[in-house]
Symmetry: C2
């Protein structure tokens, strides 16, 4: 038996089907192509599967046809576990940085990605399918057992009006008088939180006032330099994971 | 008078000439093209200049010819200051992530970038000119008053053998028994430090033993997920800035 590996490590596939002893799973078309034609997998080879619910399973390629195959679960190799409950609420930015934010935030262990439209957001629509594909790929490669939840884009106004009780927002504020992020993170009493970052050019002054007016918001600073929108999102997520997450 | 701005903020140029009251500075060809043909600047317009030594100066475009111009310093707008003394020692990675690492590390306030060749490093040469150009652009846009020092690439062996006394290395170790990075950063006694991150695929086990064998090395972990080389470099830099730097 061979456990398939690629340069980054073992081959892991995210599937939607239930995983249990002897469960048979049909990978989707792209996954089948990857296994059979890119990896040149053969019947009997093993891959790892996860679905966000049933932990990680070692599965054997049980049947192979020209364009498809069937994977049969053999044994559970890891019990299900989730990442810390941190959301990233971010103003969508142009394509390459957005792809990058989704991939990196997934590696960094974000629970949910929430695109937010603000006044200065230039991007007018979000490609949720592309975001989901990036998140799945990053989850497979980073050894996660879950894929972050990709939320439907909302306006800042709606985000704040429908904000769930008990979840604190760390608001990456360029205003100057905010708390350093590590101090702010250490003093959070809530066990669930979110980061809110703006578009290139930042939040509009009125938006900034509105955000800061909410009791569930803590403004934080990421130091004296000007960070790009994508850098701010990832840096704040890294600090929050290191101080309050699972690092 | 107009102070030139671009979407990210005011126009700032890094120059090598000395800056002082009434000093006249000739921008390089690329900068002159940018000012005259991209920004359509005219005589009398203002831009900000910095050189890594003399603070930030507001300068007036004093003379304009077809392909060049002269900038005359008017007043110092910020005194010189440096970023925290943190180096990033990283195994060079393929082009796009390497550009990204240089840009982001510059925004995050790194003092020096040191490419390191390891056994599993696939890249065999480093484009120092490209790295410098990326660092200058990011310094201009992030409001830095310095450009990080781009060091000549060295082997891991040489790096460790010539390591300066009194500087601690936080070694991003995938080995499992390392300290969480935030705890390790808080307990550093040295005031100057460096981060050491590996190539895709990580350090070779023998290299890892060698690195860990040095008294100036503290192995640290970035949590239970597998991070790409570039993610690990930037996440560790963000945490170090937040905990021990100037955030």
């Amino acid at each position: 038996m061979t456990e398939l590996t690629e340069p980054g490590g073992k081959v892991r596939l995210f599937v939607t089907a239930g995983l249990a002893a002897d469960a048979r799973v049909t990978p989707d078309e792209g996954q089948a192509h990857y296994l059979l034609h890119v990896m040149r997998a053969k019947a009997g080879d093993r891959v790892s599967l996860f679905n966000g619910r049933d932990g990680e399973w070692l599965a054997r390629i049980a049947e192979v046809s020209k364009r498809s195959c069937v994977l049969q679960c053999e044994k559970q190799t890891r019990a299900q576990q989730d990442t810390p409950d941190i959301w990233l609420c971010f103003a969508p930015i142009k394509k390459t940085p957005a792809d990058y934010v989704v991939q990196k935030a997934t590696e960094l262990g974000v629970r949910a990605l929430q695109p937010v439209f603000t006044r200065r957001t230039i991007v007018t629509r979000v490609n949720a399918e592309r975001m989901a594909a990036n998140a799945i790929e990053a989850a497979e490669q980073s050894d996660r057992l879950t894929v972050p939840d990709i939320r439907e884009a909302v306006t800042l106004d709606k985000l704040l009006k429908t904000w769930p009780a008990g979840r604190r927002i760390l608001f990456c504020d360029e205003g100057g008088d905010a708390k350093p992020i590590a101090d702010a993170a250490r003093s959070i009493k809530e066990s669930v939180f979110a980061i809110l970052t703006g578009p290139e050019g930042g939040f509009d002054p009125a938006e900034r006032e509105t955000i800061r007016g909410h009791a569930f918001v803590t403004p934080v600073t990421l130091g004296p330099r000007i960070l790009r929108a994508d850098t701010a999102a990832l840096a704040s997520l890294a600090v929050l994971q290191a101080v309050k997450g699972d690092w």
